[in-house]
Symmetry: C2
Subunit: 315 residues, 2 copies
């Protein structure tokens, strides 16, 4: 047997946890700032130290699983560079860590591993077909299709947040137009509030926006929950856009379970009700609805970490 250290590599923090068994209960964990601006070499060194810190002492056999931001090639462990990891252009993350640590290392897309985490230990246990969407600052996703993680030719599949939902819609973080992420992520909600307040619509957010304070997706959500009509309208439209896209995705993947994670998904019924209504209204056969469950993520920020543990343990 072997011991597993799982790592979640974010733009803000690096997290590592030691899992002594196949249960999702870490025996030790640590979190340190990524300091991504220092570039890949510095981050790689910090990662190696962090993994050594949480790994158990003594001569055990170690395996490491890493959840990293996409796009990346999980079969070769190459990271092609994410917006929040400056300088990571085609970095052989798996091989660099394996060399430094002298052990087997497995790398996966963080949202893909989130899907695995929720599937094996979270809200999607026991099914063969699952879609996982993490709707926050961006929209990451993973698909379990017929009992396996959907990877595609280069391991780049399941980018469900980067599919066009409004051809003439706003520009996405990835530079293309009208993706779900451009319409329904946290920053997309904030951008809509900003534009509509600047166009003269009344809102409880207007003072903060006009005085130049930073207004984020969370602020729009809080205003909507407090009943601000503009914020509420923005959240309802986002819910409808997500629901319509989920219906399309149900036609593509025919899942049993849709797991929703991320900050935007925690806005409650003001988002979930219009989303679920639109999803159901846009399915072309009742056969897609029978047995379909829409559930909140159960593992929160740990989904990717736990998925990385499963990856390292079961590969």
């Amino acid at each position: 047997m072997f011991d597993v250290v799982a790592v979640d590599m974010g733009g803000t923090n690096l997290r590592a946890a030691y899992f002594p068994t196949q249960e999702p209960e870490p025996a030790a964990q640590r979190k340190i700032p990524t300091q991504a601006h220092e570039g890949p070499e510095a981050v790689l060194q910090r990662l190696v130290s962090l993994i050594r810190d949480v790994a158990p002492a003594g001569h055990t056999t170690l395996r490491v699983g890493v959840a990293a931001p996409g796009p990346l090639d999980p079969r070769r462990g190459m990271v092609y560079g994410a917006p929040n990891l400056p300088g990571w252009h085609a970095v052989p993350l798996r091989d660099r860590l394996a060399e430094a640590l002298g052990c087997l290392v497995y790398v996966g897309n963080d949202a893909n591993l989130g899907a695995i985490g929720e599937w094996r230990h979270g809200a999607g246990r026991g099914v063969e077909n699952l879609m996982y969407l993490n709707i926050g600052t961006g929209i990451g996703a993973g698909v379990i299709a017929d009992g396996r993680l959907l990877l595609g030719a280069r391991g780049l599949a399941a980018e469900l947040g980067h599919m066009t939902v409004e051809p003439e819609g706003p520009v996405c973080g990835c530079g293309l137009r009208g993706h779900l992420e451009a319409v329904a992520s946290g920053p997309a909600l904030a951008r809509q509030a900003l534009e509509r307040v600047q166009a003269g619509e009344p809102s409880s957010l207007a003072n903060d926006i006009r005085s130049g304070k930073h207004v984020g997706g969370t602020d729009v959500g809080v205003a909507a929950q407090a009943g601000d009509p503009l914020a509420l309208d923005i959240v309802i439209r986002a819910g409808e856009a997500i629901g319509r896209h989920l219906a399309s995705l149900v036609h593509a993947f025919n899942p049993e379970v849709i797991v929703l994670g991320g900050g935007v998904s925690t806005l409650g019924s003001i988002l979930l009700d219009p989303m679920e209504r639109m999803l159901k209204a846009q399915l072309m056969s009742p056969a897609y609805i029978e047995g379909l469950r829409l559930v909140p993520a159960a593992l929160g920020d740990d989904a990717g970490l736990i998925g990385a543990m499963v990856l390292a343990r079961e590969m």
Copy 2:
């Protein structure tokens, strides 16, 4: 060993072919009218006679593969009813045929089996990840994901023509709004020509349309190829819509090969050039393009039949 009869069950014709080996070369084949208006019992009887007709004489072991219109459940061999098969509400096609013929029967969605046909014997040989779209009267599709046919929880996955591409777009044959099928199928091209001529736009199709002649997608294609500006504009827009949707689907499935079949796909460069241009322009990373091939279907109308042969032989 066993002999295989493959059947393609269409709204207009029933086709059956006897395949003595695993090669896609039938030793015998027949085609008879479906006469779908007579309802499922009459069609089932005709199917049984047709299969007996092409099956080899003597006491061989027979297996039958059937390509049938969706929605259907391939694991249970249930047909839930297609627009061109009136009366087929939850018909246990597999079990009815197996009982009448006394042999093993396998049933699959015709477009899914088209994907298998093209994958194993047509334009998509040798890859692990393939998308197949048949763009004709409707838009059927099938996905080979990581070396297997994508089925989903009830075998209803890969309805790639029934995903929303224009939320405010025209109503689809399935009753929902803005699906790719409502924008880019043959009837969708014809409907656009009709609407725009009736709105006063000049076109070589105007006389036929105004005199009440039937103008179909093929007529629009012929007019576009002859240089009619209205027809050309309609075809170019359809190509762009298909290309944009293909880009979204590439983000979802990351295929190596996209196989395009069906009448609309045979319009040549007037459709394919804008489609390919849009597809490439809408991919968020060059990693999706490397090694991606867009190819015409190689098996034509036989794709489903050959896929049904593969299904029966390899299940």
